[in-house]
Amino acid sequence: MSFASDARAPADSLFRRNLRAFAANRLAFGSAIVVLIFVVMAVFAPWIAPHDPAATDLFRRLQPPAWMEGGDWAFPLGCDALGRDILSRIIYGARISIFIGVAVILVATVVGILAGLAAGYLRGWVDIVISRIVDILLGFPYLIFAIGLMAMMGPGLANIILVMAYKEWVIPCRVVRGETLAVRELEYVEAARAVGASDRHIMLREILPNILSPVLVVATIRMADVIILEAALSFLGLGVQPPTASWGAMVADGRAFILESWWVSTFPGVAILLLVLAINVASQGLRDAFDPRFSE
């Protein structure tokens, strides 16, 4: 893929123009609103959720949704295997799922940016070492790597995030390295070097702001993948600890009931679908708007 290496406009106004372009894409903008709604739901979960998500009642075990026979409007989406309110668990589950997505991407992006800048700007042995590490990590199938690490580190939310971040940083790293290689010889970088700016200054102040757009795009796309990946880990029995449940864990635990009590896994599954789809559509919009390779 060719990189449009035209001289950069000041980052700030470019960002605004891109933002306007993004807002003009109604589908993407609508998706962003959906994501926002989920975030609000997660933040205000204690005020929105009708029940305590951990309150069990074995007499409500597998109670169907309200509109079905045996349902109850107090528990609109029905109850899970321990008689817990599925709606409340979905509302609280948004916290865990979104937190995992954001935390993994945040850690991975920060590490990836630093490693990618160092590799792309400093070149030499730094580049060789980082690139080899990246190659080695990419050689591992993602799930097998995650399962192996989870077995090694044991259960827990922090470990889940770390396990995913260990490999996830490679992706922003590759993007940043590529972009850095492309811009390091440009005039404004040369100019900074000529006035004796430090490497740190050049990397963080001159290069980074100009390559943030593709990183942002990649980060949002990968966040969607991380949420799905967490569900896969739950499927393999390596998900978050009870009583809090991520959506992935709810779908994974509920899948066994799918024949007779479809609602246990279906509603959290739909929640994942909506959020991840919204993130994906929004990030496509972001890409179209922010990444010069795709703009008109």
Partner: protein, 512 residues
């Protein structure tokens, strides 16, 4: 997407018309797991043994009611406390057409018992299942003598776990090849093993008929048997409901109604042999107080969980032994559900405001752990569930006397012989392998050691009843229940019933 969907339905229809009806004489079992090997001497896996036991017969076997019946042996007698004689039957053929002789039986046991007996310097991992058996010798004609280093009443109950192989065949192909190329004396011979997918067996027409003590001997009823590997439980149930398979193991309790209500399928259950319990860290500074342990027992409504989560498919226990086990004490105190009593006991133990603890468990028991945690929390024992991989949890809890972290562990221990020997000692003996509670009672240790070698059956039973009473007073564990093994079967299947030792014996099963 919509177009894609329509194409899918259309192509599925095309494919469906091509799918043939399963032939009437092929019996398919939807099974949780593939065999590791088909060599009866080279594994330590229950599912592997289940598959192998349709290809290989043992010296003795068990019927569905857990009685021991001679199979390859005609009869056996206990000559002295440490000597057993088995008379080996004549006229039994191996799948390759050769006659089975007493040499094959001796070879089988030498292979299990001898250091390096598997060849290539390898020793069978199954030797220890023969306990103190020292040697196996041919005494005269068809009589094989087992000599033990100390008395071991369990021998006949443990022998069904060993199956006879052909000496000539093993010596010809070697242990590595035997894993995929078995020659046994069982009702079915291996047709094809598609690794990871299915083990296909065909009827062995020269079968001698199996244990004469179990009726309707003769060659198997169906022509072909397939163990089809379907690890995911929802998929296994789906395969049964759609008619792809005729028997499934490990039917989840919540799917029972679905299977029972379908016109073509039904549920079969058998009392299992696995005891579930809640281990409390007797070495920790909370649960070293017997009053706190009693408080936990009174806080758990076992009947509620059995009724609601296990769909009534478990028997409550008040001691480690199954109600069906030999030496079961049926007069143990029940520790009835009484949260008020729990609070009182906690207060008495110096915790008027309750305690906060964690409950460790593994993935498959997560639901039950969470239900127990809710009940405990309700009684002032604030409980946080922690789910971990089985291996990690066992490592944490089965420390054999080493220091132990953690408060409570929801776990289980199997007892396929229904004899107390292989469950009581391992879970209650000081520093024993499965003593997750870290319990130690020298008096109980002595009693269990004496019972293990006691030959007077009545006296032995009495000793175990006394042992259960002692454990019940100390209550290192909260004893929970023994679940039933649940199978889903097609209504086309007849003359088959599940066994408590999880054997799926298809010798007599028929399909209409």
């Amino acid at each position: 997407m919509k177009m894609l969907h329509r194409t899918l339905v259309a192509s599925a229809l095309v494919l469906a018309t091509a799918a043939p009806a399963v032939q009437a004489q092929t019996l398919i079992v939807g099974f949780t797991r593939d065999a590791d090997t088909l060599d009866p001497a080279n594994h330590r896996n229950r599912e592997t043994e289940t598959i192998i036991r349709n290809i290989h017969d043992g010296v003795v076997t068990r019927s569905s009611d857990m009685m021991i019946h001679p199979e390859i042996a005609e009869s056996f007698t206990q000559v002295s406390p440490t000597v057993y004689d088995f008379v080996i039957r004549a006229g039994v053929k191996f799948h390759d057409g050769t006659e089975m002789t007493i040499d094959d039986v001796k070879f089988t046991f030498d292979r299990l018992l001898n250091e390096g007996g598997m060849g290539d310097g390898q020793t069978s991992p199954r030797g220890a299942l023969l306990g103190p058996v020292e040697s196996v010798e041919i005494v005269e004609g068809n009589t094989l003598r087992f000599t033990l280093s100390e008395p071991w009443p369990l021998l006949p109950a443990m022998l069904p776990h060993q199956q006879i192989v052909s000496k000539a065949h093993v010596e010809a192909v070697g242990s590595t090849a035997l894993a995929t190329d078995p020659v046994g004396t069982g009702p079915f011979r291996l047709a094809e093993w598609r690794r990871g997918e299915s083990v296909v067996m065909e009827r062995f027409d020269d079968y001698y008929g199996g244990a004469p003590g179990i009726p309707e001997a003769g060659p198997a009823c169906v022509e072909r048997v397939i163990f089809q590997v379907i690890p995911e439980s929802a998929s296994r149930v789906a395969a049964l409901l759609s008619g792809d398979v005729h028997i499934i193991n490990e039917l989840p309790p919540f799917s029972m109604n679905q299977v029972a209500n379908s016109p073509n399928t039904e549920v079969m259950t058998v009392n299992g042999t696995r005891s579930f319990f809640l281990a409390m860290n007797n070495q920790g500074d909370i649960f070293d107080d017997v009053r706190v342990r009693h408080a936990v027992a009174h806080a758990i409504d076992r009947d509620l969980i059995i009724d609601r989560i296990l769909n009534g498919t478990a028997s409550r226990i008040d001691g480690i032994l199954s109600p069906d086990a030999f030496g079961k004490n049926h007069d143990l105190p029940a520790y009835e559900f009484d949260p008020e009593r729990s609070r009182a006991l906690l207060a008495e133990a110096g915790y008027p405001d309750g305690i906060s603890v964690t409950l460790d468990t593994t993935g498959p028991m997560r639901d039950i752990a969470e239900a127990i945690a809710a009940l405990l929390t309700n009684a002032g024992i604030n409980t946080q569930v922690q789910v971990g991989e089985g291996t990690l949890m066992n490592q944490k809890w089965q420390t054999r006397g080493g220091p132990k972290e953690g408060d409570m562990f929801l776990s289980s221990w199997g007892n396929s012989t229904l004899d107390p020997f292989d469950i009581f000692g391992p879970t209650h003996g000081t520093d024993a392998r499965g003593n997750s509670a870290g319990y130690s009672n020298p008096e109980l240790d002595a009693l269990l050691d004496a019972a293990a070698v006691e030959l007077d059956r009545a006296r032995r039973g009495e000793m175990y009843r006394e042992a259960e009473a002692m454990a019940s007073a100390d209550l290192p564990y909260v004893y929970l229940w023994v679940p039933q093994d649940i199978y889903g079967v097609s209504t086309r299947l007849s003359n088959w019933s599940p066994s408590p030792d999880s054997r799926i014996n298809l010798h007599r099963a028929c399909l209409d």
